[in-house]
């Protein structure tokens, strides 16, 4: 099979890393893969992951058109970051294909895209969510305010999924909007992950000399939804942990955020270490040295979390927020924190893990075993191939619907062909063979 995959390819892209694993496996299975990298123009010369396949920038229109026309299927990796996905959006609109959806909120992607497509952007928001949702996308409010205003009522999932022939995503919690907007098959496939395992001990446990502090770690870009403040407050109110723990943040952080969190930690008597962005080796060491990893998210907008998968694969006891993707993790593998009782739950979870090394070890080992079985490239590629075959079967129906919708639009009907049983039912003959 000939596949063209549109993806960010830059080394720091986690999506690009997953895609590299998938691409290598597809090539190993005898498929022909071409990668079209989709970052904004200024990033197209940066170092890439190793895909085992030729890589083209999305801006080379003639070359991309030629490989796309020659391909059996086009695959688009889409996440909520315009700098990484600009080219994917451009080509998806022109040449639809299978979308691999990494976030259940695409508001930032849409807002950045609509900056240069204002009229069309307004039309899209109005059509999917109504006039009242147009304003948040036109006014550049603060990130937290923008997310709060739009995440439930206008997450822009439908905008991308309606362009897709099929959608693969990585958890079920946000799928309703996907199913309602994509006319083709929708499949939930556990993420495949690209990072090497560290040298952690079996079950990820750390032999810690007496007196050394209990190490809690948060990894990734530090922002409000990672709940760092709540962890600090929980540690600050725990006599058990207060003097015996160290909380470390590894990942990009704005100076003003670092200052504010350091001040809060000081006020609460918490030993906070802000390490900032580090390379892969240092990140792996930070994971190895930790006793517990905090993968709290609120709101949770991802279809899956690379940080959580990394924590589990490394056999680390992990706490997560009981919401979204994280809710779908077996309760034997992580400790779940209720959003409406957050600080108290974090405190009791960390205290339990601190005081009971056996429980900590058992949970970490179970999480590692489950992650090793679940987040595999072999499974991912198998499911991807199934989805491609399903998509090929449904393509004639979608083409027919597209044709009929265009004719109806030309006749000026405000009409959704996919909602009309009289039109859709006879079309099922196209999909009944095979």
């Amino acid at each position: 099979m000939k596949l063209v995959i549109f993806t960010p390819a830059k080394k720091v892209s986690s999506i690009g890393g997953c895609c590299a694993l998938v691409s290598q496996e597809l090539v190993a299975q005898g498929h022909e893969v071409t990668i079209v990298r989709t970052e904004i123009e200024g990033l197209l010369k940066s170092e890439t992951h190793h895909f085992g396949a030729p890589v083209l920038p999305w801006t080379r229109t003639h070359q991309v058109t030629r490989v796309a026309e020659d391909a059996d299927v086009l695959i688009y990796q889409i996440g909520d970051n315009y700098d990484f996905h600009k080219g994917g959006l451009e080509w998806l609109a022109a040449l639809p294909g299978i979308v691999i959806l990494h976030d259940f909120f695409l508001g930032h992607l849409f807002r950045a895209w609509s900056d240069s497509n204002r009229a069309r952007g307004v039309e899209i928001v109005r059509a999917w969510y109504g006039e009242e949702m147009v304003k948040p996308f036109l006014t550049h409010s603060a990130p937290e305010t923008f997310i709060e205003e739009t995440k439930d009522r206008a997450p822009m999932i439908e905008w991308v999924c309606a362009m897709a022939h099929a959608v693969i995503t990585h958890s079920s919690w946000g799928c309703e909007r996907v199913v309602n907007s994509c006319a083709g098959p929708v499949r939930v496939v556990p993420l495949t992950y690209n990072k090497n395992l560290g040298s952690s001990l079996p079950g990820g446990m750390v032999y810690r000399p007496p007196g050394e502090k209990f190490a809690i770690l948060t990894i990734g870009h530090v922002n409000a939804n990672k709940r760092v403040e709540s962890v600090i407050r929980a540690l600050g109110t725990s006599p058990l942990l207060g003097g015996h723990s160290r909380y470390r943040l590894v990942g990009a952080i704005k100076p003003e955020t670092a200052t504010a969190l350091t001040r809060l930690a000081k006020e609460n008597g918490v030993d906070l270490v802000v390490s900032g962005e580090v390379d892969d080796g240092a990140l792996l060491r930070a994971i190895e040295e930790s006793d517990v990893i905090s993968c709290l998210r609120l709101p949770s907008l991802e279809a899956a979390s690379g940080s959580l998968v990394e924590a589990l694969l490394n056999g680390k006891p992990t706490i997560v927020t009981d919401t979204g993707f994280y809710r779908e993790i077996p309760s034997s593998c992580v400790m779940k924190i209720r959003p409406d009782n957050e600080v108290a739950d974090i405190r009791s979870a960390l205290e339990a893990l601190f005081s009971d090394p056996a429980q900590r070890e058992a949970m970490a080992a179970e999480g590692q075993r489950w992650a090793l079985q679940t987040f595999t490239t072999e499974n991912y590629v198998r499911e991807l191939i199934h989805t491609i075959k399903d998509t090929m079967k449904t393509k004639p129906i979608l083409n027919a619907v597209t044709y009929f919708s265009r004719v109806l639009a030309h006749w000026s009907a405000d009409y959704d062909a996919t909602g009309n049983e009289a039109i859709m039912e006879p079309l099922t003959i196209f999909g009944s063979s095979g």
Binding site: V407, L408, W411, S412, A413, Y415
Partner: protein, 176 residues
């Protein structure tokens, strides 16, 4: 010339249009053309099936045909670069949609959407046709009022006549 006559039909019902199409087919053959009739099943009821029947006609692809003579809605939505419309008894179906009859009136909002859709489809078909002919002055007036189309009246020969003499001027106009 290979001439296809396209018209709508209801199974096991024989209408005046069916009779006229059969006579025209014969007359075209007598005049030295190759001719066949394509009868497309269509009915006005229920109203929510009208759109899908229109789309079906629009989706047909015709090959090996030099000229199409389309009679009646929605047959004249069929696509062909050389298409002549000969509209007979046209207002009847439209009246049903308008509810002036009233056997097939959908709910108010839908009726107006459906009317608009039919009218836009008709107008598109009128624009892409070489000639628009009607069977009676009343039909001409109707199209003028509702579609702003000034058609020419071409009255079919009286029933039973299939001689070359009766049909020659009609065929000449239809294929002009």
């Amino acid at each position: 010339m290979k001439i296809l006559i396209v018209h709508t039909m209801t199974p096991f019902q024989r209408t005046e249009t069916d009779e006229l199409a059969a006579r025209l087919e014969k007359a075209l053959i007598i005049a030295g053309h190759e001719s066949e009739a394509l009868r497309i099943p269509f009915q006005w009821e229920p109203a929510d099936r009208i759109t899908s029947q229109m789309l079906m006609v629009r989706a047909f692809e015709l090959w090996n045909v030099d000229h199409v003579i389309a009679m009646g809605f929605p047959a004249f939505l069929i696509r062909h670069p050389k298409k002549t419309l000969w509209v007979l008894g046209y207002e009847h179906g439209h009246d049903l949609i308008d509810g002036n009859g009233v056997v097939n009136r959908p709910p108010d909002g839908e009726a107006s959407e459906l009317r608009m859709l039919i009218r836009n489809a008709e107008n598109e078909s009128f624009r892409e046709s070489r000639r628009i002919l009607v069977g009676a002055e009343t039909t001409r007036q109707y199209l003028l009022e509702h579609n702003q189309v000034d058609a020419k009246v071409l009255v079919p020969p009286a029933g039973g006549a299939d001689s070359r003499g009766d049909w020659s001027p009609i065929i000449e106009v239809l294929l002009r």
